[in-house]
Subunit: 269 residues, 3 copies
Amino acid sequence: MNITETICANLEAIRDKRPLVHNITNFVVMNETANVILCLGALPIMSHAAEEVEEMAAIAGALVLNIGTLQPDWIRAMELAGKRANELGIPVILDPVGAGATKLRTDSSRRLLTNVRISVVRGNAGEVATLAGIASEVRGVESISASAPSEEIAQRFASAYGCAVAITGPVDVVSDGKRIARISNGHPLLGKVVGTGCMSSVMIGSFAAVDHEDPFTAAVGGLVTFGIAGELAAQASGDRPGTFHVELYNALYAIDAEAIRDRARIELV
Amino acid sequence: MNITETICANLEAIRDKRPLVHNITNFVVMNETANVILCLGALPIMSHAAEEVEEMAAIAGALVLNIGTLQPDWIRAMELAGKRANELGIPVILDPVGAGATKLRTDSSRRLLTNVRISVVRGNAGEVATLAGIASEVRGVESISASAPSEEIAQRFASAYGCAVAITGPVDVVSDGKRIARISNGHPLLGKVVGTGCMSSVMIGSFAAVDHEDPFTAAVGGLVTFGIAGELAAQASGDRPGTFHVELYNALYAIDAEAIRDRARIELV
Amino acid sequence: MNITETICANLEAIRDKRPLVHNITNFVVMNETANVILCLGALPIMSHAAEEVEEMAAIAGALVLNIGTLQPDWIRAMELAGKRANELGIPVILDPVGAGATKLRTDSSRRLLTNVRISVVRGNAGEVATLAGIASEVRGVESISASAPSEEIAQRFASAYGCAVAITGPVDVVSDGKRIARISNGHPLLGKVVGTGCMSSVMIGSFAAVDHEDPFTAAVGGLVTFGIAGELAAQASGDRPGTFHVELYNALYAIDAEAIRDRARIELV
């Protein structure tokens, strides 16, 4: 089965099995990422208290850790949840929002990568380059520049940490150190709505929740499906980011195998 | 006056008096539930610091406690606010989000039910069954199953705790131990937007804010009005959850006594 | 250059330079205010941990402090960020949400005004009057009454604290103690969406980020642009607050110098 057909099968599995996707995430996108998961067909749960995250992680199909609006006590909860997920073979996605912008975020990302076995890291080029030890500039949560092409950053990151990595941008790049995929789906309006990076991370989490064995394909699936949803939403929106935001949920709910087969632009290198 | 006319009178009172509805609630739905309260015609206030919740509760028409994204220090604030509301005769609504899914949530719900005099508990069948000591399954914040019909769960809960209870689902059931109402309003799209359960709780809070004497009728009023708003929103949305979410606010703002008289499907048992 | 032309030039500068606007704000509006900043053309960053706020503030064009959903540890972070911004000459905007409603909020606002050099305070009449020592009533986060006209409150506040102040309402009033502006843009639907006051504060922050020398003009610019966006959004919405909320982002994204020149209603006193 080629990768597009695997993605279509995984999308169907999300809607059949309705896996729980557990998120420890930032305050800015809690509602929006939960709605992305629900519109796609999975079930979101947002829970961050150290007292309960292990129980929540244990019943989830995937765990998504997102360090936007980070505060130190949340990192401890992320570690507890991540270790419990590791014990049970549940994939863990890390979104290192703003790594490179502040010491707290860079250090916390590294600590999570050290103490938890991560399946996929999803970030922008600056964030991932920072963590791979490649010179870059991150301003706030925005990637300003990275001193290497995304393919090289991705491969160096994947080799260093032994996990899959997804670098999103005009062209998304996914690698697990052995394979590389370039994904050319998406739309510039995705850059005009807050949290679409975080949304793409929970898309990967939703696909990983039904595909525990192949994080690379889960990452490609999540990004392709999100990119196509962005294209469909843009068609319905004109150049209006408020309307586009609403249409993005509509598109995630409506997207099907036919749309993915028609529109997927995946280049395996 | 029959119950439908009481509900219409209460809706008018909400818009005339604009009562403050104080919420100590979860991070996922803070904005959305505040907008529900404002669109309906009341005034939302979201405040959770132990240092100020008693002052806020004291000027409110109703207090809504919601344990989604719970962390232990918030429970203490909920107790402080709840006790102050009790002293002043202000109704307290409890939404035990995820009770049954983790020990923290089950124990915290029980603690609030013990330490605060609650007027109405609003939850799904699994959450309420858990608290009534009836076998059930709650996954994350989703009710998977309960081993008794909602009417029986509601009556056992109301008898055990001496308060009104509202179990929402395809058919909503409200009981105060003596009376039972079945409400058949609503639309499946309400299950495709995050936080509609939490929204239904603040609807009950808004009605309770103008009807301190009859929590049963406040609960029926909040759920009927919300269900009808869902029906009106669905008519304007097609099968598109993003659009439906927007239209839900429009419908709550536009809903009037005529729509309630036309569409209310309340069966008093 | 008259004030309208300065505002048009500042709007262009926001879109050219894309300054970072750092927010330590409340949970209710984090997503919405970030989207306002992004739609307008600047870059939002939401970050509140004491461990990183000084780093974030140091790379920002402006810092916005908003005390809605206040808890005490956040005040400390606000002070740290504010003092760092002061050292670097970065303007600080304060939104004293609910000052006058609880002791925590009134005291915290005063403490921030004492310990941080604020460029612009933006609040409703009740909040600003409270801080100016003028009798008023604030219920929750709503201004109920103030015992003086906004112009007088603004001037007394500006004289007492030596900073610019913006009082929003049906007519907005801005003063820096020497100058007074009255702005008659806006639309009643802005009162039907939660957080539009907070949004107006980040509008001022975005304008201040490109105009460090003249907080008075930045405040007028933010409020005029936001008010006109509200008017344009209302034209596209009918009397529907959910739709209006979506159209508000569209309008902020589309607004240009021509719309400002056509519609600005600024009276300099």
